[in-house]
């Protein structure tokens, strides 16, 4: 499983980083950055799904 943030849609709510701090972080402006390139370790998949479900801008895509 991989995650992607659509930069045009992200407005920096940081709710992804609250749900999955191992997977999402913040740039200098508070917008999301993905911290893990490539496949996520299995134990972070549930958190990443929660992050996807918590983003108000629906800016996160999960690729299985």
């Amino acid at each position: 499983m991989k995650v992607r943030v659509n930069d045009g849609a992200c407005h920096g709510h940081q709710m992804c980083a609250i749900a999955a701090p191992e997977v999402f972080g913040s740039d200098d402006y508070g917008n999301a950055v993905v911290l893990i390139e490539g496949d996520l370790p299995a134990d972070l998949e549930a958190k990443a799904r929660r992050a996807e479900g918590n983003c108000p801008e629906r800016a996160i895509t999960i690729e299985e």
Binding site: H13, Q14, G30
Partner: protein, 398 residues
């Protein structure tokens, strides 16, 4: 005049609505037309469904931020010396909004606001010291109200001992001033007079790492930013950062006073804090904004006209059962919580990371010092509402 039909005549300043807006919002949401209209307070539309509120927030070309207060300004309001000073970025539209916002965002990124945590915790402890021995205190007036104004003053580099004065001005703009234009204008003038002096001072005596100095020295496209911009940002910091956060802290303590099981849950499972904060923000979202319709448009079947006001009822969106299971229940470990307490789209609250930090530190410190507490008398709790909803008097005993 009392409200007979909320679908055509809601009143956001009605006493019952301020006390408990959720049944009215639910009645509108579940009616044939989930977007109500009223002629009161200059007229407005009130969307209540999550999808509608988010769509409105994202369609900034049609729903502009030229006016964002929930009541109409009086016609030809005289703004005196400061007619050109607005409240960027909250009052701006693209394209200016982009740089108006971008210049302040770095001050509010999670890694930038972390430095306020320790000072906020010390402040919270000092506030509790003042009343903890007495076994009774006002969670709103003696605690919640005292925190954000001092954090913002620190951030702006202005004296924290003026906190009560600042609080009075902010309430003048966001509470009494909404229904009394004279108070609104007077309070606005006091804020702008004060920050005019501060700006003159920073020009003469620049400071290191000071928000006002940094902004004065910022450039956009090779040009120094206009002074009105800096003036407007200072104005907004105070107006946007104080009533809002204080309301969120107060409403959360009001909730915890009545829910021993939630106090226990947080004590036994401290990892829950970040999720719990989001859930309290969802359930007690304090802020309603407004938009001004740019051109005639039909939105979800409603014929909106250029110049109409639309209320961005983020609290109503956060209680929509289409988006949230059991929306009226506070579930501290709610799995999916796409709440919009901080708005959505390009105007997402720039201060949200600071607000979360303050809310978490204020609640953690309170629960560490005062683990068990209850309302002295539920009937005596008073609430402010309209633009920003939260308790103003909330006596508790412990």
């Amino acid at each position: 005049m009392s409200v007979t039909d909320p679908l055509t005549d809601y009143d956001i300043f009605d006493r019952d609505y301020v006390l408990d807006p959720f049944p009215v919002q639910e009645a509108i949401r579940e009616s044939g037309c989930p977007i109500a209209h009223t002629e009161r307070w200059g007229g407005s539309w009130l969307p209540t469904r999550y999808e509608d509120v988010v769509a409105l927030a994202q369609e900034y070309e049609t729903f502009t931020s030229r006016q964002i207060l929930v009541t109409a300004p009086p016609p030809q309001q005289a703004e005196g010396a400061y007619a050109g000073v607005a409240a960027p970025p909250i009052s701006s539209d693209p394209p200016e909004h982009h740089w108006h916002r971008r210049l302040i965002l770095p001050f509010f990124a999670p890694q930038a606001v972390a430095k306020y945590e320790e000072g906020t915790r010390d402040l919270c402890n000092q506030l509790i010291d003042r009343f903890v021995e007495s076994g009774e205190g006002d969670a709103a007036a003696d605690y919640a109200q005292q925190i954000p104004v001092r954090v913002i003053a620190t951030m702006l580099g202005v004296p924290t001992d003026l906190s009560d004065t600042f609080t009075g001005w902010v309430r003048g703009v966001l509470e009494a001033g909404l229904t009394d234009p004279k108070i609104r204008l007077e309070s606005r003038m006091k804020i702008l007079d004060y920050f005019k002096e501060q700006i003159e001072d920073r020009k003469a005596n620049p400071r290191e790492n000071d928000l006002i100095t940094t902004l004065l020295n910022s450039e956009v496209d090779g040009q120094k930013v206009p002074e009105e911009y800096v003036h407007g940002v200072c104005n907004l910091m105070l107006v946007a950062g104080v009533d809002t956060t204080w309301s969120a802290i107060g409403a959360s303590l009001w909730h915890l006073a009545q829910h021993p099981e939630h106090r226990r849950q947080l004590r036994e499972n401290p990892d829950l804090w970040p999720m719990a904060i989001e859930e309290l923000l969802r359930a007690y979202a304090p802020v309603t904004m407004a938009r001004l319709v740019d051109h005639d448009v039909e939105f979800q079947g409603c014929p909106m006209k250029a110049g109409d006001r639309v209320l961005m009822a983020f609290p109503a969106a956060n209680r929509d059962p289409r988006q949230f299971e059991n929306p009226d229940e506070v579930i501290l470990d709610r799995e999916h919580n796409r709440h919009v307490a901080f708005g959505a789209g390009i105007h997402r609250c720039a201060g949200s990371n600071l607000a979360r930090l303050e809310l978490r530190v204020a609640l953690q410190t309170w629960l560490a010092r005062i683990p068990e507490f209850e309302l002295v008398d539920p009937e005596s709790v008073t609430w402010a509402g309209g633009q920003v909803r939260g308790p103003r008097i909330c006596k508790v005993r412990f």
